[in-house]
């Protein structure tokens, strides 16, 4: 721009044209790069007799999988193994995210406890679990802790309904009978109604300044309503208890120890990071805010809920986003203890049996990529919401 007054710039000094040239070069370079990679890959695959394409998804897998949320056995296809793995990944991710958030918030708040021991334990917890590779923690929980549980015949039990042994946690299963749909419908109605009550109560408070006991009303709606219908419909749910048969318990719901170990270590590891974020978030709220709130007569509980948490969330929410993303990615370490997630089943066994590395690795990468995107979108919405609350 300095040259403007001196003379007409040479065309290649024009920033606009230069940008176009740069980009053309970039695209050409990248295009050549990918051409090179793809042509090399094709030559290499031909030379080594590696098949390509997705036909393998239709052929019989021939191996069993430890845990599946949908019916599966060795006669199903490789495509089915993908779905089985995918569902197991989603399951452990959701469990991990929920519990890591709970643990993280507890640990973060424990930093501000009046009890010295609790404060110190929170610090120790964070510093230990944050700084040890997750893989080692998974080994620890799986091989050092869960494997010391008693065998099937000496199970720890809770009222002959819940059993815990080295094979897993056995829970009674809910069996639906006639009329159960009504109870489920009541539950959903309860949840919807509680949202409406909340909305209405806020409106009323804005208009009249009167407060409404939203919390207790909603508890009645969400829990009370289904319970009442449950009895009204003549208790349409039965329980199927796990029973010791042969080598092991059967019936009921089984939570395999691999899932427990993985969910536990993901929870504890990610919980340490979230705990640190919560601590930083709460600390970021100036102390004056609390004092000001006290001076206008707010109760401690209200201060926490209305003053500190909304402001702390501005710091916490973006970190939660990235922690959730890394939790999902870290769940791939399932492969080290054999929890049948997408990685273990699909990149592990299926890849080994079919040898089609490119298709399988790309499919898997795409899945995790999409997961990340979904978390990102959801958390950005959440982020916007907390950002608005603070204004």
């Amino acid at each position: 721009m300095a040259t403007k007054n001196l003379s007409e710039p040479v065309f290649y000094n024009n920033p606009g044209i230069r940008a176009v040239i740069y980009q053309i070069l970039l695209v050409l370079g990248l295009g050549y790069f990918f051409y090179l990679i793809i042509s090399n890959t094709i030559t290499n695959m031909e030379a080594r007799g590696i098949k390509s394409g997705f036909e393998f998804l239709g052929s019989t897998a021939g191996f069993d999988i430890l845990m599946s949320l949908i019916p599966y056995d060795a006669t199903h296809t490789y495509g089915k193994t993908f779905v089985v793995g995918l569902l197991n990944t989603i399951l452990v991710s959701i469990i991990g995210i929920i519990f890591a958030t709970i643990v993280g918030f507890i640990i973060g708040v424990a930093h501000f406890s009046h009890n010295w021991l609790i404060r110190k334990l929170a610090v120790i917890y964070i510093e230990i679990f944050r700084n040890i590779p997750l893989l080692l923690q998974i080994f620890f929980w799986y091989f050092a802790v869960l494997s010391t549980l008693p065998g099937a015949r000496q199970s720890l039990s809770l009222g002959e309904a819940v059993f815990l042994n080295v094979r897993g946690l056995y829970l009674p299963n809910l069996v639906r009978e006639d009329g159960s749909a009504v109870v489920i419908a009541a539950f959903i109605i309860g949840i919807l109604a509680s949202f409406i009550v909340k909305h209405w109560a806020r409106k009323r408070q804005e208009k009249t300044g009167q407060q409404f006991p939203v919390f207790y009303t909603n508890i009645v709606l969400i829990i009370g309503l289904p319970v009442v219908t449950f009895f009204a419909m003549g208790m349409p749910f039965g329980l199927e208890y796990p029973v010791l048969r042969g080598f092991n318990y059967s019936g009921g719901i089984t939570v395999i120890p691999e899932l427990m170990a993985l969910a536990l270590s993901l929870t504890i590891y990610t919980g340490a990071f979230i705990g640190e974020a919560v601590r930083a978030g709460v600390q970021s709220v100036p102390h004056g805010q609390t004092e000001a709130a006290r001076s206008i007569g707010m109760k401690e509980k209200q201060i926490m809920k209305l003053i500190i948490v909304p402001q702390a969330m501005r710091v916490i929410a973006p970190i939660l986003n990235s922690e959730y993303q890394s939790l999902v990615k870290n769940s791939t370490l399932a492969t080290a203890i054999g929890y049948p997630d997408l990685f273990t089943v699909f990149v592990g066994t299926t890849l080994n049996q079919t040898g089609q590395a490119i298709e399988i690795v790309f499919m898997t990468m795409a899945v995790y990529f999409v997961f990340n995107m979904i978390i990102s979108v959801v958390m950005n919405l959440f982020n916007k919401k907390v950002a608005l609350v603070s204004k």
Binding site: N115, L117, I118, F139, Q325
Partner: protein, 352 residues
């Protein structure tokens, strides 16, 4: 207010009934748990010996760690050449520490280029065949030093690479921008384990037929790209933290784009992002333990190899994993202490 230990305990441990219950509960758990642990770790542990048979007592068999310590730290690197690993570790340490004690000009003129050259110098020294030392192929590299080297070499190359990606993301050129965004999001969005698999089973297919690229090099490429994605994101935060006035001031001085970026913006970005860079490095460092799954002899897979040696089949997994955990913890905790002290320093500087 009274002082002294009783008053302290009253205030901090037994201030209310729930607090007292919590204290008693925690102390009871600790009392239940710690003596047995200490006994296993120290009092009944086996400290000296050569082979598995020397572990006669009930406690931990530290003989295992002792016997395999060279493998754990240096891998199968020839014993008489180990000084080369130590030299490289020393170089790394002295460049990192040294750069904190020299003036700004020396730092930018000498230490930064030194830092960027370090991985390549280390490869020359460790491999040895190009500088007339005994050649040691990468199959013999291993142990904890390999974890350190891989993490350091990846982050050093990712420094400039991530910066370019971050610049690309800020660029006004739509194509450059979208390519950068794609690269960054790809390497951030995909599990590092999948990337390792890509490095171990897919990358060989990408090279011209007949070429075979060293496995460690492939892993290094993958780790660097992975790291660059994260670094680009760290830089982005750094860019946002720099006041707009800095750009405008640089423009008004008539600096070119690269002068502005490298001389004015980059130093400030680096400074404000330092705590995040360290945090990213700690993450990368911990992730090097995942290399076990693709069979690189870093410390965790060395441990597993040791556990499967037919003369050490006595089940020393606990000792081995505990030792590895301790090593990682020491390094990572050290880094996080440094990172938080830098953060504190930055905060106070900002407040001035």
């Amino acid at each position: 207010m009274t002082t002294g230990i009783v008053a302290w305990m009253k205030n901090n441990l037994f201030s209310s009934i729930p607090n007292t219950i919590a204290t008693v509960f925690i102390l009871a758990i600790l009392a239940n748990f710690i003596p047995g642990l200490l006994d296993w770790l120290f009092f009944s542990a086996n400290w000296s010996g050569e082979t598995q048979d020397d572990c006669v007592k009930d406690g931990a068999c530290w003989v295992f760690i002792q016997a395999w310590s060279q493998q754990f730290f240096y891998g199968s690197y020839p014993t008489e050449e180990i000084w080369r690993i130590n030299l490289c570790l020393g170089l790394l340490l002295s460049v990192v520490i040294g750069s904190n004690f020299v003036s700004k000009t020396i730092r930018t003129k000498i230490f930064v280029p030194l830092f960027l050259l370090l991985p390549f110098v280390s490869i020359l020294i460790l491999n040895g065949s190009w500088i007339g030392l005994e050649p040691v192929s990468t199959d013999y590299w291993g142990g904890f030093s390999l974890n350190i080297f891989l993490a350091a070499a990846s982050i050093i190359v990712a420094f400039p690479l991530g910066f370019i990606w971050a610049l690309g993301r800020r660029s006004t050129m739509p194509l450059a921008k979208s390519i950068s965004v794609l690269l960054i999001e790809f390497f951030r969005g995909v599990p590092v384990l999948a990337l390792f698999f890509m490095g171990s089973v897919m990358l060989p297919l990408f090279f011209t037929e007949g070429t075979n690229v060293d496995k460690l090099l492939r892993v290094w490429i993958v780790l660097t790209l992975f790291m660059a994605g994260y670094m680009a994101e760290v830089y982005r935060g750094g860019f946002n933290a720099i006041p707009q006035g800095q750009y405008e001031a640089a423009d008004s001085l008539g600096l070119s784009y690269w002068q502005k970026t490298l001389l004015i913006i980059l130093p400030q970005v680096l400074k404000v992002s330092m705590p995040n860079i360290l945090a990213t490095f700690v993450m990368l460092f911990k992730n090097t333990s995942f290399l076990m799954i693709i069979g690189i002899f870093e410390i965790l897979s060395t441990t597993q190899a040791a556990l499967s040696n037919s003369y050490w089949l006595g089940g020393h997994a606990n000792e081995g994993y505990l030792f590895v955990a301790m090593l990682f913890w020491t390094v990572c905790f050290g880094m996080s202490v440094i990172s938080s002290s830098i953060e504190r320093k930055l905060n106070t500087e900002h407040r001035k």
